[in-house]
Subunit: 408 residues, 2 copies
């Protein structure tokens, strides 16, 4: 039988057709009025999408490039920084900070969990230059409560810059960037904004711009001050990934179009969409007997589940691809073989979610021989969808998933 | 929540991405070596796809254009022809034959049913010039048994030309064109070959070519002899729809690619694919309590179901589109409001079928308030899929769905 290739990976995510068309027709030179108009529009849209009055800078790089930009622009060799790490991307902050000569304090949480606020408080010092954290740790599908972390940082080490990797958080969870005091918030193109990899974007606070003047780490391509200087003219410092910028503009238009052209409202719907797909998926997989890997703080960006003892999660990934063409993600590093991950960020809908659960429950029976019934995961997901239709969730509510929000 | 637009209509059908890319890059003049190479390749592929040694001619028109070509090229005013009609497209044969001055004998069957072989035998005469029939009547989702009809025609009126509208039959049911003696078999681009509307193609037997020499009906754009004359040079008589031809070539490559480059085997898999989607859908809708509109002779091209008394099938179509973005077809003509139709021909797979059933069973409960359970249709479809995996159907078997094949 035919098997369409369908990405259910937490980046790259399925491409938006309108963005594909925009990319295919982006036959534009980057030093022209045509490009300047496009780029100015996209930069303005990104401020609405990120939800900030701060400048938003676009880099032609992967998200890791923007993470490096945050480290290299904001720190000097020997600076004390705090990294909050609970997975592969937290570990990337450690590696980046060390690569740029920082002295790293570390608060870590086991894979699948989020941080203990008291440990964060204890690890903040008067000379902590910056705090680096993920909004959602993509490798474990855990959501960290950035609102709570920001409050702790502001209270315990007000001088510290707060740098948040929102690469899979943007478009899946709410941020009040300026009110919470997020100095840098980083996004990537191949995530909730539904275009291919190749662009990163980051909002930068006035405090962060000021801090760059005293930072002594070397940077050239990722020197954010150069981008800030030319951005108001609709230019980028170096040759930008023009087609991706055209695609990003089309994707942001699409998101705004979900709410009659209001991008701020459209972003809320995008977040709610991911949260609904995630809630449906959690219910479906739980009904099949899988164990949620991050039950206390599940991200809406992706869902991670542990496979039963004796089963290799890689076999689930491979069988699903071979049987039905759907691509989900294995665990990374030491979680490889133990968990698999399903994305919800970006261009997914009810029918995608049902289709994936209908494929997973099929392979759960054959060849995996798990004791499940046909229709079981689908029905559980439909029940969740029906409940959310009846009583929509507020996308701005903290979703810590605990009786008491982790801010308390 | 996001709603992706998904076509489940029996033409146009979902576009194959590889064909979309080929169409987008078809910047070719049609009187060049480049186009001649493309067109020669596509004409050769079509002979394999149709499964015939006869010439296959391509027209830049809808399928109705090729139906007109069959009538205008093969008949003269006053000719006696037999039309077998059991739906809107059968009625189109009547209208076309009358428009070209033919004297029409009619064997009809009620909507949702196929023909009584004895009535066909009785309606064939020594002066019947041609017989016109659908392989699958798209308006009712009924499959007529062309093998049986061909045998009847060959036996009872051997002089009669057999013209088959296979617009939704090609790629969903098996034809042995040359062995059965099908003089003209017509296909359309927006059907199982997964590209947009705008091309029709038809195989023409030597008997039919000879008959054209004595046919006196007027024709110019649709004069098949003109196309036959220039086709061996890779040319078309008039400006062809170049992008669609490029797309068709890519689609036929894709079908061949399903069977390691063997287009004949790929066509069998395409048929089997539609038959599997159809069988899953029939089981799913039956589980929801819908009544199959064509239980005795269901087509694999599409499934038609009757809605319960008091329910408007248009409401199902509209609600499905509004809630989930999926587009199915209402009944046509007097069947409007009474049935809805779901396509399986072309680029559909297991996950599409599950997704649609998962959407239909949701709206069946809310807002249609039918007494169904979540997961019920999906589970029934999964059961069918599992059975077919265990014991694949032979796509060359007659699928009359009767205890005794209609050929007997």
């Amino acid at each position: 039988m035919f098997r369409k290739t369908r990405l259910f990976t937490p980046g790259p995510t399925p491409l938006l057709p309108a963005a594909q068309f925009a990319m295919a027709s982006a036959d534009i030179h980057h030093r022209t009025a045509e490009f300047r108009a496009l780029y100015s529009k996209v930069l303005a849209q990104l401020k609405l999408f990120v939800g900030t009055q701060n400048d938003v800078i676009v880099l032609s790089s992967s998200g890791t490039g923007a993470m490096e930009a945050a480290v290299s622009n904001l720190t000097s060799p020997g600076d004390r920084v705090l990294v909050l790490s609970a997975g592969k991307f937290g570990e990337r902050w450690v590696a980046l900070a060390k690569a740029f000569g920082c002295q790293v304090d570390l608060v870590s949480a086991p894979y699948g969990q989020t941080f203990d606020p008291s440990q964060i408080r204890a690890a903040l010092h008067a000379d902590t230059r910056a705090v680096f954290v993920q909004a959602t740790e993509t490798s474990t599908a855990v959501r960290h409560c950035i609102q709570s972390i920001a409050e702790t940082v502001r209270t315990s080490a007000p001088q510290a810059l707060l740098v948040v990797d929102g690469i899979t958080g943007l478009g899946t969870t709410h941020f009040d960037v300026d009110a919470w005091g997020i100095d840098v918030l980083i996004g990537g193109s191949q995530k909730a904004v539904m275009i291919p990899p190749g662009l990163a974007y980051l909002s930068v606070s006035e405090r962060a711009w000021a801090a760059m003047e005293t930072s002594k780490n070397p940077r050239y391509y990722f020197d954010l001050r150069k981008e800030r200087k030319v951005a108001p003219k609709g230019e980028s410092a170096y040759t930008p990934a023009v087609a991706l910028i055209a695609g990003l503009g089309a994707a942001l238009d699409y998101i705004a179009g979900q709410a009659d052209g209001d991008l701020v409202e459209g972003r809320k719907l995008l977040i709610e969409n991911a949260q609904t797909c995630a809630a449906m998926t959690r219910a479906g997989l739980t009904a099949l007997g899988f164990t949620l890997f991050a039950p206390d703080a599940p991200a809406a960006a992706a869902t991670a589940v542990a496979v039963p003892e004796g089963l290799d999660s890689g076999a689930v990934v491979k069988t699903l691809k071979a049987r039905f063409g759907a691509v989900i993600a294995n665990g990374q590093g030491e979680m490889q073989g133990k968990i698999f991950r399903i994305a919800h960020l970006g261009f997914f809908d009810y029918m995608d979610t049902i289709a994936l659960l209908g494929a997973l429950e099929f392979i759960a029976r054959d060849p995996l021989r798990l004791p499940v019934q046909f229709g079981q995961a689908v029905a559980a997901a439909q029940q969740v969808f029906a409940s959310r239709q009846a009583a929509p969730a507020d996308p701005n509510t903290c979703l810590c998933g605990r009786d008491q929000c982790c801010r308390n």
